[in-house]
Each structure stands twice: as C-alpha cells, then as structure tokens.
Point group: C2
Chain length 189, copies 2
C-alpha cells in the first residue's frame, strides 16, 4: 500500500501560479489562480503577501527542475563543447511540444517590464545561473573569450526560446549549427 | 505662420495604444488608453471594434517607422554584409535608451500567447519583413545558405532585443561580433 501526500493549499497555489502564468501571462487574476488551486482568496492572502510574491515563489520553486531539464548531469563525462551543445539539444526537443511557450524566466521579465518586481528578480537569477554554466564550460573548454562566448550563448538561448515560443521557428537545423559556429569561432573544438 | 493639424481622436488612440502597450504591456486597460488619448470609451468603440483591433492597428501604424529606424536606405550603396550589420548597429544604439523595452513586435507576441490574435498577426508580418530583408541581403551577398543565415540573424535580433529590453545585457561588444562570425561562417566576407 502506498501513501501519497495530498498537496497542501500552498503547493496547489504555487503549481497553479506557475502553470497559469506560463500559459496565459503574468496578468492572470487572483480569482483564476485561487479557483485553479481550489483555495479561497482569504487562504491565499494568509499564505502569500500578494500575487507578486506568489508568482515569485512559484518561479523559484520550478528553478531546480528547469535547470535539470536543460543541463547535463554534474558527472557527465563529455567535453565542455558537448555539454554546452546538450543544453541546446534539450531546448530544441522541448520547443517541439505543443504546450511550449518559450522560456518562462524570459517571458516573465518581458511581461512585467519591471526589473525590481520580485518575480523578475527570481527570473534574472535563474538565467544568471544558466549564463554561469555557459561561462564555466567556456573556460574549462579553453574558449578564447569565455565572457563573450557566454553572452553569445545565452543570447542564442533566449532568441531561440522566444522564437519557438511564438511559433516563428521550430529551431530544427538552426540552433545546433549556430552554436557550433560560435564554439568554433571561440576555438572550442 | 504655420498650420499644424491637430491629431484626430483616432490618431490619439493609436498613439496611446502603441505607447502604453509598449511601456506597460498588452494588458493595459481600455480606461487607461482612453484617458491617455483624451477620448471617451463611447468614441473609442465607435472607432474600433475592440481593444484588440485598436492594438493591432497601432502596431500596423508604427511598422513603417520601425523599419526605417532599423534598415539601411534602399539606395544605400554598401555591401550586403554592411547593410546587414547596419541593422544590428541600429539595434545596439536604440537599446541604450532608457525607454527601450525590446522589440515591440516580439513582446506583443510573447505577451499575447495567441498567434491568431489580430495584434500577433501584425507583429508576425512585420518581423517576417525583417527576416525577408536578411534573406535578400544574404542571397545578394552570396551566402552559402541564405535561408539558414536569415533564420540565424532574426534569432540573434530577437535574442538581443529581448535581453537588452530586460536589462540583462547592453549588447555592446556582443551583437556586432556575433553577427560578423555568422556572416563569416556563411562565406559573406
């Protein structure tokens, strides 16, 4: 016999906020969030200061799984070049799903247009971690200019996520050759 | 003595919609739009079917000036390579302004999350024209794979616009070398 813990109201709110904000945008209303979570507004405001804080907490909660779905395992024995390409192969594969709307952490910053919003701060941090991964691999792989290469890779990552999210490009035959060209130019063979 | 035509209510609404949607997002309310335009809601609904149509019309109205601020003149005698780089130099320069929030035509598609929305359709068309410019120059310049290069350039354009818009990167020392690398790899010297 298995025992499964029922999600708490807090967990249900975090899940609803992450899902609905991703699918419909950060403008999703408190009513809709509470309804989706099956939680009263009164309970929501007992658990979170505001919708902004709920949104920020929901983005923070998904940060670990976001990274896990993109990055290679820490003990992945492949070369830095291959570990970087892994991220873009993952993105290309995720972008093919019908429910893909681009990178949640980019979208929230574009939508909020306010870098001091708690959710923007979380998003900025999460993407900073991805840039730091690129920077670290670039350095380990002997890139001629690891800072420039890391900026290029996160730019391609965001451009690709955005364009796939709005269905302007499927990324197939695009991001892997593009990243390979940038890695070549940085002497990361 | 100069005579200046006073903007009509229609023009004031289009201007307010373009400005406020860019600064605050597509969720900006009808009340706020009418207030900024100095037009009653009743008048607005006589001029436009809906806020969605107003938004689409406002994006369409700015399409010509958007292109003019990015593209070289039609009779610009520079090489295709230089004409492509011109677009990115313009973007880098625009991204430095405090009121820059990225490409309006990318943002609206990310925010609406609905490719069938009239405003998304306008935005998709405007960015398609920019991609067509890249494709034409790539072909004229003898790029090894003009389709791939055009997809790469619009990806870099969108990634750069997005990252500068959220203040994650200033683009200086980034997009011109990145585009130059892609042009080199496509044999557009």
């Amino acid at each position: 016999m298995t025992t499964q813990t029922k999600p708490t109201p807090r967990e249900r709110l975090l899940e609803a906020a992450a899902t609905l904000a991703y699918r419909e945008g950060v403008g999703v209303g408190v009513e809709a969030l509470c309804k989706a979570a099956g939680v009263s507004k009164r309970s929501m405001y007992q658990l979170f200061e505001s919708k902004d804080d709920l949104l920020a907490a929901s983005l923070e909660r998904r940060a670990a799984s976001y990274a896990a779905r993109l990055l290679p395992e820490a003990d992945d024995p492949r070369s830095p070049r291959e570990r970087i390409l892994h991220v873009f192969e993952q993105l290309e594969s995720q972008a093919g799903a019908p429910e893909f709307h681009g990178c949640a952490y980019l979208a929230v910053q574009i939508e909020l247009k306010d870098q001091s919003h708690p959710a923007s701060r979380v998003a900025h941090q999460v993407k900073g971690n991805l840039t730091a991964f690129f920077r670290g691999e670039a350095e380990r792989g002997g890139a001629s200019d690891p800072d420039l290469l890391a900026r290029q890779l996160i730019l391609v990552f965001d451009g690709a996520s955005a364009r796939a999210g709005i269905r302007a490009d499927k990324l197939t035959g695009l991001i892997v050759p593009t990243v390979a060209t940038l890695l070549d130019a940085a002497d990361m063979h």
